[in-house]
């Protein structure tokens, strides 16, 4: 049974559909990468799993289960207990996700206390252990530090320590390294993958960095304008993309162009609230779009293992099926 299962999840803000009928699942011990440009709904979908969508946002789903427990049906209190202990989340900006008024030690112990309890001494020992786990040198002295005394990389390590404090079974990392430098990014990703392997957690890695996902994820979901356009094993999706959007994204990366040649840029921008096209959402930007694409929204083809939302999925040569 899957750890997390979503079926036709939608998040709406008034008339605007930020997330539009998405379905996916995360298995235990799996790294799932969710990629997409800004405005693709990748962050909103994960916030909805955590129950962090505030008014006026509305979450609808046919199924949203974690370990066979229905997250939408359970009482608010129980859900809060579950998220935070069994499902944890880390955010993009480590500098603002720690409360600047309290020491690092206090914030870790606070997280431990609400979900586990124990004596003061035990909690402190556990906090030191956690900081050691995330590779912070001299953890005893770090406990008394305030967030502003830490660098970005250190803060993100502390955030990871807090999120794994209760041994979560699913960790959602929303752009965990976007605010960090490359060498620090490499350290943090290595740490996350290391922890994920040791604890056999499910890890949902949300990012706009395709190469990063290609390096670490088992499976990948490509989102566009609130919809999942393609999903499948990472190696397959990146070597033989089936959706024109995935193909275009890969082609627009500088490393795909030889030398100083022009990049294959996808024209236009992700549609927003007011300019959602009829039919396939990519149709105004898609080089293969037909009149059919502009009128009828394509259905998902394939099973949850390898899915593509396109009338004319691309073959292994990268050409649309007739």
């Amino acid at each position: 049974m899957s750890l997390l299962q979503l079926e036709n999840l939608s998040v709406t803000f008034g008339n605007f559909r930020a997330v539009d009928n998405i379905s996916y699942k995360v298995e235990e011990g799996e790294v799932l990468g969710i990629v997409g440009e800004s405005g693709s709904g990748k962050s909103v979908s994960s916030l909805s799993i955590m129950g962090l969508i505030d008014f006026p946002g509305k979450v609808n789903a046919e199924q949203l289960t974690f370990d066979n427990q229905d997250l939408l049906a359970m009482p608010e209190k129980q859900r809060r207990r579950l998220t935070g202990s069994d499902i944890a989340m880390i955010f993009q900006d480590p500098m603002t996700s720690l409360n600047p008024c309290f020491t690092v030690g206090y914030q870790i112990i606070e997280a431990l206390k609400t979900h586990q309890g124990g004596s003061k001494k035990e909690l402190k020992a556990r906090a030191i252990e956690l900081l050691t786990q995330v590779g912070i040198p001299a953890p005893e002295s770090r406990l008394d530090n305030y967030p502003h005394q830490l660098s970005g990389g250190m803060s993100q390590r502390v955030m990871i320590a807090i999120s794994i404090a209760c041994n979560p079974r699913l960790l959602i990392a929303d752009e965990p390294t976007t605010a960090l430098d490359v060498t620090i990014q490499a350290q943090i990703i290595d740490l996350l993958i290391d922890l994920q392997r040791k604890k056999q957690m499910g890890l949902v890695l949300i990012t706009h960095d395709l190469a990063l996902v290609a390096e670490v994820a088992h499976r990948v979901i490509v989102m566009y304008a609130g919809q999942i356009v393609e999903s499948g094993p990472a190696s397959e999706v990146f070597s033989t993309p089936k959706h024109p959007y995935t193909q275009a994204l890969l082609a627009s990366l500088p490393e795909s162009a030889a030398g100083k040649a022009r990049l294959e840029a996808l024209p236009g921008v992700v549609p927003g609230q007011y300019d959602r096209p009829l039919g396939c959402l990519l149709s105004p930007r898609c080089p293969y779009a037909t009149d059919h694409c502009r009128k009828v929204e394509p259905a998902n083809q394939g099973d949850l293992n390898r899915q593509v939302k396109c009338h004319t999925p691309l073959d292994s040569e990268g050409r649309p099926a007739a």
Binding site: A248, R262, P267, P287
Partner: protein, 304 residues
Amino acid sequence: MTTSIEASKDNIELTAPVPMTPLQEFWHYFSSNKGALGGLIVIALIFFMALFANFIAPHSPSDQYRDALLLPPAWLEGGNWSFVLGTDDVGRDILSRLIYGSRLSIAVGIVAVTASLVMGILLGLVAGYCKGVVDTAIMRIVDIMLAMPSLLLAIAIVAILGPSIVNAALAISIVSLPHYVRLTRAATMAEMSRDYVTSSRVIGASPLRLMFVCILPNCLAPLIVQATLGFSTAILDMAALGFLGLGAQPPTPEWGSMLANALQFVQRAWWVVTFPGLMILITVLAFNLMGDGLRDALDPKLKQ
């Protein structure tokens, strides 16, 4: 994919509808705040009243009807419908005096707010732009002004210059100056670090251009809010000065001095005190409500 080279130049704007202009957006946010809208309507009514006082007011504000001293409002026993809100101790129509009084309050508000806004913007911009010694000098003077109770300071200024409406307005504008200076300085410093200011500098813009063309329009939002709220403070201060006899001199109709003059009759003729007081309350409340709405509409942080 091969067509994307040409396409990238032609299809850049696929976004169909034109987003709202700043004004439309402002109105959208402002009008969704019912209190602010109410405030705006009341203020519009008061402005209308002030502008057309000679047509609306049933009597002249200084005509004394000797046969109708301390007449109660019309709907009370002994009232007379030609004096709707009653008369005061020398037989002047209260309604007419209130209507004419709005002229003075609005005028004082406009003069005081404009004067302090202009001075505050100048000093604040200079302080925020120059930094260093100039900044320190300006800010310390402002600190000293803030350390004195504002009404006391205003009284002192009026006492030196002599009691009159103009001097009272001047005193009020000086007293409220510090807020504008601080606000402008803070906004200027925040804007200074933005990249668009730097790029204007790279282009070669002069300091004056940077200050007034580049930075100032972006600092206006909080200043507009402060000015609206300052309007109500100015009216209140004016009433207080009038009440103390340092503002408008009799027989000029002014809400604060109307209150002061009628104080001795409060026991037997409540209406002489109540109506001017109510006018002040309503006007100040309307300005405060509108100020709140303006803040909601102009502050990008409060928008969705």
